[in-house]
């Protein structure tokens, strides 16, 4: 068990490697109730959201979601989140547990027009059902008649003891769903999904596997790989920044970076065989000179070698570049790799 974002959460149930494998080959169930839920509503929602977030909410139809970023005035990342358009003028935002308060304070300070912002984090519990068998597992639970959402989509189900929101999203690099229900129903659905998932080899999964899975999939973790010191362009998230939608917080800095290029980039690193696993804050060297430090790192259970992320000078950010990671005073070879380091077979 460990403290995470103010929650006391399991690192593992049976073992990180076993849980990781279950998600890559079958299905895993995560408790993601720590994550925050904000609801934005009102006639000016769309316009206002486009001013405070980097992606373009106008691209969303009802029941669709997108990954987006909340920036400070210098273009640094306050939080990364998924925003769903439930219906016109009603948006559901899923934010990081450790950032709920900061996000809400920031957004409140930016409120303008006819917009209401509500923090519903205490009302919602969240479960993530992730893995190649996630779809079959949910079909077994809900029946074949239910049309499950497409990638990044959101389905609202009004059922007894509901409502339930089911999103086709995740943080593992596999197909999967994030399931939001009233907090009092969390234990019920957790048990129910585990029970029905048995036939598909379901495993309850903790924070440990959540971290190795997302790292392999190249997803940054806010607070580690994302921070107010780095912009989304430096983090390799430019496809989630839309410059053709008008003004948004941080835009001037990002625009300048787009013109002149970024000085540092978040890269993936794959360690040579038989080296110790990298961890956050290990120094990275190139040609005997310090060039950065790792922001995340672990053994990759799928690749069998260590993987990490680090901000490196742009000149060293091309895949194939050889660098060294210093671990307990010794340097070990690593190669800059394209993110994600793991991609599922289609």
């Amino acid at each position: 068990m460990m403290e995470f974002g103010g929650w006391w959460m399991p690192v593992q149930y049976k073992g990180i490697l076993e849980e990781h494998k279950a998600v890559r080959t079958a299905v895993g169930l995560f408790d993601i109730s720590h994550m925050g839920q904000l609801v934005v509503s009102g006639p000016d929602s769309e316009m206002w959201l486009n001013q405070v977030l980097t992606n373009d909410v106008r691209l969303l139809d009802d029941g669709q979601g997108q990954y987006t970023l909340l920036l400070n005035e210098s273009g640094g990342v306050i939080d990364d989140l998924i925003i769903y358009r439930v219906e016109a003028n009603s948006y559901f935002l899923v934010v990081n547990a450790s950032k709920i308060e900061e996000d809400v304070l920031w957004l409140q300070s930016k409120l303008s027009g006819d917009v209401t912002l509500a923090d519903q984090s205490g009302d919602w519990a969240g479960l993530a059902i992730q893995g190649p068998a996630a779809k079959e597992c949910l079909e077994a639970l809900l029946g074949q008649d239910i049309q499950l959402p497409q990638k990044n989509g959101l389905l609202s189900l009004g059922i007894p003891n509901g409502p339930i929101l089911i999103a086709r999203t995740g943080y593992t690099g596999e197909d999967g769903f994030e399931w939001f229900c009233p907090a009092r129903m969390a234990a019920y659905w957790w048990s129910k999904i585990l029970e029905l998932g048995q036939a598909f080899g379901i495993q309850p999964c903790g924070l440990g596997a959540r971290d190795t899975l997302r790292l392999e999939a190249g997803f940054p973790l806010n607070g580690s790989d994302l921070s107010p010191k780095h912009t989304p362009l430096e983090a390799g998230l430019s496809i989630f920044v839309k410059f053709d939608k008008g003004a948004f917080t941080g835009r001037p800095v990002l625009e300048k970076q787009r013109m002149t290029g970024v000085e540092t980039k978040l890269v993936g690193l794959i360690m040579a065989d038989k080296t110790p696993p990298p961890r956050p804050h290990y120094p990275v060297f190139h040609a005997n000179a310090p060039v950065g430090e790792t922001t995340s790192g672990s053994l990759s259970p799928t690749l069998g070698s260590g993987i990490a992320m680090a901000y490196l000078p742009t000149s060293l950010a091309s895949p194939g570049t050889l660098v060294e990671v210093e671990i307990r005073g010794k340097r070990f070879p690593a190669t800059v790799a394209k993110r994600p380091m793991y991609r599922r077979a289609k």
Binding site: V11, Q12, G15, I16, L17, G208, D211, T212, K274, P276, P277, R279, S298, L299, P301, R328
Partner: protein, 127 residues
């Protein structure tokens, strides 16, 4: 958790088996369980001299690196190379195939400060 009766234990969850001044050292079943899946062992160097309670090597699980402390003073005479190939031996067989290193004891005096199986079991129960 298994606590074999023929071993001595350090508060920091290492075990020691003394064989006429030549000791074998490893980590306990409780320690391997807490560490979770071990994926890397940085073995000590043969010939290194070490004081009781000093950090001597590092065991890495998927989630973290953990220091291992020598339960006694002495000189390292042998290390378990099998752990380089199969670090998971620490999880599957912590008291036998998962031994970490052997130590020529500098003095028997250190052993009296280690815990008996009963005392170590008590420590585990008080956690």
């Amino acid at each position: 958790m298994k606590v074999p009766t023929n071993l001595l234990y350090a508060t920091s969850h290492e075990w020691l088996r003394n064989d006429a001044g030549h000791a074998t050292v490893g980590i306990t079943d409780h320690a391997q369980h807490e560490l979770t899946d071990v994926v890397y062992v940085e073995l000590p160097s043969i010939g290194a001299t070490i004081e009781a309670g000093q950090q001597i090597c590092v065991v890495e699980s998927v989630k973290a690196a953990s220091d291992i402390y020598s339960p006694a003073s002495g000189t390292v005479t042998e290390v378990n190379d099998a752990l380089s190939q199969d670090p998971a031996l620490l999880n599957t067989d912590p008291y036998d195939k998962g031994w970490i290193f052997k130590l020529r004891l500098a003095t028997d005096a250190d052993l009296s400060s280690l815990k008996s199986p009963e005392q170590y079991t008590e420590q585990l129960h008080s956690l």
